[in-house]
């Protein structure tokens, strides 16, 4: 089995988000970057499947060199090699074009990634890549099992879940509880240093969208505290003051 796992490099979930350069750039100062939490689930399941079936597991990231520590971490967790497309990821479409290009040259059985990256929250890259490769894509996938060439997927749908069977190859957007996050062990960290991380130049394309500026939400007003002894008044306030009931 040939598996590709696409990872994003995103601010830690607790990071305070601010912008610089006239609100046109993310202020990376003091921000810790991590593998996207959903991508981490995809990676964990990818590693398990490789252990089960053999084959190869490649991680792919579209982005600049500051992501290399996160890519090394993915190698330490169990990927065999890595590809970094050396380009600023301009938008979902651009990223998907780069991923699809690599996929076309390597014919993977399974392309896994998170259901969305937690920076732009778009959740469209798996669908775009699937269409560009002309293969099915499913998301968000909570369970993934393979028997022969048949894949059984449980995916979340509005208010429930759907179980389906599909043939390989597939593109899947993953979320918990598909696997438990894996923490690299010492041996993994040592071997990751010598695993190949291939830096590839992007295919050139003009982005279809262009970011203009960023903004922070208006600060929240103070919380109105209601004494526990008068809890019932909450209902009236919600109805007459907040007008949400």
């Amino acid at each position: 089995m040939k598996i590709l796992v696409c990872i994003s490099n995103v601010p830690d979930t607790t990071a305070k988000i601010t912008f610089t350069d006239n609100e046109t750039k993310l202020n990376k100062n003091g921000v810790q970057f991590i593998i996207g939490p959903y991508d981490d689930y995809a990676l964990a399941r990818g590693v398990e499947l490789k252990e089960q079936f053999g084959g190869s597991l490649t991680v792919l990231h579209v982005g600049e060199a500051d992501a290399d520590p996160q890519i090394r971490k993915a190698l330490a967790i169990g990927a065999d090699d890595a590809i970094r497309i050396n380009a600023e990821s301009l938008d979902s479409y651009y990223t998907a074009v780069q991923i699809a290009e690599v996929a076309k040259q390597n014919s993977y059985d399974l392309i896994l990634m998170g259901r969305e990256s937690i920076d732009y929250n778009s959740g469209v890259v798996h669908g775009l890549v699937g269409e560009m490769l002309d293969i099915p894509s499913y998301s968000p996938v909570m369970k993934l099992d393979i028997e022969g060439s048949e894949v059984t997927i449980t995916r979340e749908i509005d208010g429930g879940k759907e179980i389906l069977k599909a043939p390989l190859p597939l593109v899947l957007g993953c979320q918990e509880p598909i696997a438990e996050w894996k923490i690299p062990n010492m041996r993994g960290i040592m071997t990751a240093r010598t695993k190949p991380l291939n830096v590839v130049e992007p295919v050139s394309m003009e982005a279809l969208t262009a970011p203009e500026k960023y903004a922070l939400p208006a600060p929240k007003g103070a919380c109105k505290m209601i004494p526990a002894s008068e809890a019932e008044t909450l209902i009236r306030l919600l109805q007459t003051e907040a007008k949400v009931l």
């Binding site: 979930t13 988000i17 912008f19 939490p37 979902s92 479409y93 998907a96 937690i118 732009y120 929250n121 778009s122 959740g123 469209v124 890259v125 798996h126 669908g127 775009l128 269409e131 099915p136 894509s137 998301s139 968000p140 909570m142 059984t152 995916r155 979340e156 749908i157 509005d158 208010g159 429930g160 879940k161 759907e162 179980i163 389906l164 069977k165 599909a166 918990e176 279809l208 969208t209 262009a210 970011p211 500026k213 960023y214 903004a215 922070l216 939400p217 929240k220 007003g221 919380c223 109105k224 505290m225 209601i226 526990a228 909450l234 209902i235 919600l238 109805q239 907040a242 949400v244 009931l245």
Partner: protein, 324 residues
């Protein structure tokens, strides 16, 4: 030309979030001087689809083939693209959901269309076409220009104020739409669909009552469920609660769960970790009930009660029953 809006169906009628998306699309069409056409895929009664007219759409294309019964982003995207070609649509609008994103993505790749997901307001249309979207899980916004000829917007809940009182009683014209569908789109077989159909879906709910580890265990959920019932609310939970299997996974709200944007979110025994807040910061009003006055959730709340959920919830339920 037209603005094409994809409306999701549930149980034969247009989902509430999609009605909002239709109203959004109608406003975009008014700004671009086009008319708004709705595409509905799956089975539905004609009179349910006609309701799109109440929100300003003139026409509904209905693709109702049996094959399209199950959510199938491949076939749905095919259908959407063919509808867009028939109607000469330059702007295509969908609701933010797993299905909406999937259909939008595949359609974008087919049409080389710029796609922006998570749009939170009406576009600014002039020399350029700019949209505002939510990024960093609600911690910030981005203004993005879409430069391609065909533009695809995936719109979040509450992107516009939907004033139900201004809803007209005009019916939309419903036309059958029969797309050409490739066999490749039907390679997967649906084995089973588990839908808690009696429950209100979290993404659709106007009010959500949500419980955290402070609820102590699954056997203690009844007071929360009773309160939710009294308010006609959906129930949600924090991640540890679903991790511990106290509540089903589809109730898990937050950064790694469902993102909700109800009018009212009531958090019971949830501390307010940043990853939980990330899933609820689109809510109009937040109420926090927690016995710890230092719980971080109070900083993100509009109303707060410091107290024991098991003492407070039954009293709120009684008070809620006297509503209306």
């Amino acid at each position: 030309m037209s603005v094409l809006i994809y409306a999701e169906l549930d149980n034969g009628s247009i989902k509430k979030t999609s009605l909002e998306t239709i109203a959004y699309g109608v406003k975009v069409a008014a700004a671009t001087g086009d008319h708004a056409v709705v595409l509905a895929i799956g089975s539905a009664e004609k009179r349910e689809l006609e309701k799109a007219g109440h929100y300003g759409a003139s026409k509904v294309l209905h693709a109702s083939e049996e094959k399209l019964k199950h959510e199938n982003s491949l076939a749905y995207a095919d259908t959407l693209v063919q509808a867009a070609q028939q109607e000469g649509s330059k702007v295509i609008i969908l609701s933010k959901s797993g299905l909406g994103d999937a259909v939008a993505a595949r359609a974008a790749a087919k049409m080389k269309a710029g796609i922006v997901s998570g749009v939170t307001a009406l576009p600014e249309i002039g020399e350029t076409f700019k949209v505002t979207r939510s990024i960093f899980t609600g911690k910030a916004f981005a203004v993005t220009e879409i430069k391609s000829d065909i533009k695809i917007l995936v719109v979040r809940k509450n992107a516009i104020e939907l004033d139900e009182s201004s809803v007209a009683t005009v019916q939309a014209v419903v036309e059958q739409f029969a797309p050409k569908l490739a066999d490749e789109a039907f390679k997967a077989t649906v084995v089973n669909v588990e839908k808690a159909s009696s429950e209100l879906s979290l993404t659709e709910a106007a009010v959500i009552v949500s419980g955290g580890r402070g609820m102590k265990g699954p056997e203690h959920w009844q007071p929360l469920i009773d309160f939710a019932k009294a308010l006609g609310a959906a129930t949600g939970c924090s991640k540890p609660v679903s991790d511990l299997d106290w509540r089903p996974h589809h109730e898990h709200i937050g950064q790694t769960g469902i993102k909700v944007a109800p009018n009212l979110y009531i958090a019971c025994g949830i501390s307010g970790a940043i990853q939980h807040l990330a899933g609820v910061n689109g809510s109009k009003c937040i109420v926090v009930i927690n016995k710890d006055p230092e719980a971080p959730f109070f900083k993100a709340a509009d109303y707060g009660i410091v107290g024991d959920v098991f003492e407070i919830l039954p009293r709120l339920t009684e008070a809620a029953k006297t509503l209306k």
